[in-house]
């Protein structure tokens, strides 16, 4: 099942990439989220997958009775999810403000910082 999940990671990444190339800021954000999910799943799969046994030590025991799911990737993903969510929120509000100020959702038309018809540099000394 590792390999199925690995293939699923590829689907996530593909869609994320495709959406990131869409020029529409909101879609790009969605792409970023999908890509992030794909990466999280990748970390999860990287730690090898085990069915249904949560890494929680049953009450009264010192160590789990049997094998458990790998807890470390889970902790890493948790951190990554939280960070990803923070970044996502910021970029979303940024997109919102950019839309309000620049009247554009299409990145092709966001050209204030790098103007389309930038002047030729002066040929002088």
């Amino acid at each position: 099942m590792d390999y199925v999940l690995a293939a699923l990671v590829g689907v996530f990444v593909s869609l994320g990439v495709y959406l990131l190339l869409s020029r529409s800021v909101i879609r790009m954000l969605i792409g970023m989220t999908v890509l992030g999910n794909g990466v999280n799943l990748l970390i999860f799969t990287s730690g090898r997958v085990m069915r249904e046994v949560a890494p929680i030590v049953p009450a009264g025991l010192e160590v789990p009775a049997g094998p458990i799911a790998n807890p470390l990737p889970q902790a890493l993903i948790l951190t990554a999810i939280v960070i990803g969510f923070s970044m996502f929120s910021f970029l979303l509000v940024l997109a919102f403000r950019a839309y309000k100020s620049l009247d554009a959702d299409n990145t092709d038309t966001m050209r204030l910082a790098e103007p389309e018809n930038a002047p030729q540099p002066p040929l002088s000394y």
């Binding site: 249904e52 046994v53 949560a54 929680i56």
Partner: protein, 102 residues
């Protein structure tokens, strides 16, 4: 058949049924036709997912998953409220063409 095995079987069957319900509920999200229909379906999906989690809890014997289900109910509500508000303010015009078709 022992009781435990019965419960186990029940949970397996329930999971399969709920899995099916999950897939069905996203059909409406995809086909719409209006935003409201999709929101409704999303709300529906949240509830199904909640049930799914409950079933998983029974299947694994980890009743703690229950809290995830409860929290999902809480947040699913929030999502629906937010979307309803969107519809109230922005209308359904994202699907103007679909409305005409209807």
């Amino acid at each position: 058949m022992s009781v435990v095995a019965f419960v186990d079987l029940c949970s397996l069957v329930a999971l399969i049924i709920l899995g099916l319900a999950l897939l069905l509920s996203i059909v409406r999200i995809i086909i719409g036709p209006t935003l409201s229909d999709r929101v409704l379906a999303l709300d529906m999906m949240t509830v199904v997912a909640m049930g799914f989690i409950g079933a998983v809890a029974i299947r694994t014997g980890l009743m703690l998953y229950l809290d995830i289900a409860i929290a999902l109910a809480l947040l699913g509500f929030l999502a629906t409220v937010a979307l309803a508000r969107y519809i109230l303010r922005r209308g359904l015009k994202v699907d103007a063409s679909a409305m005409e078709a209807q």
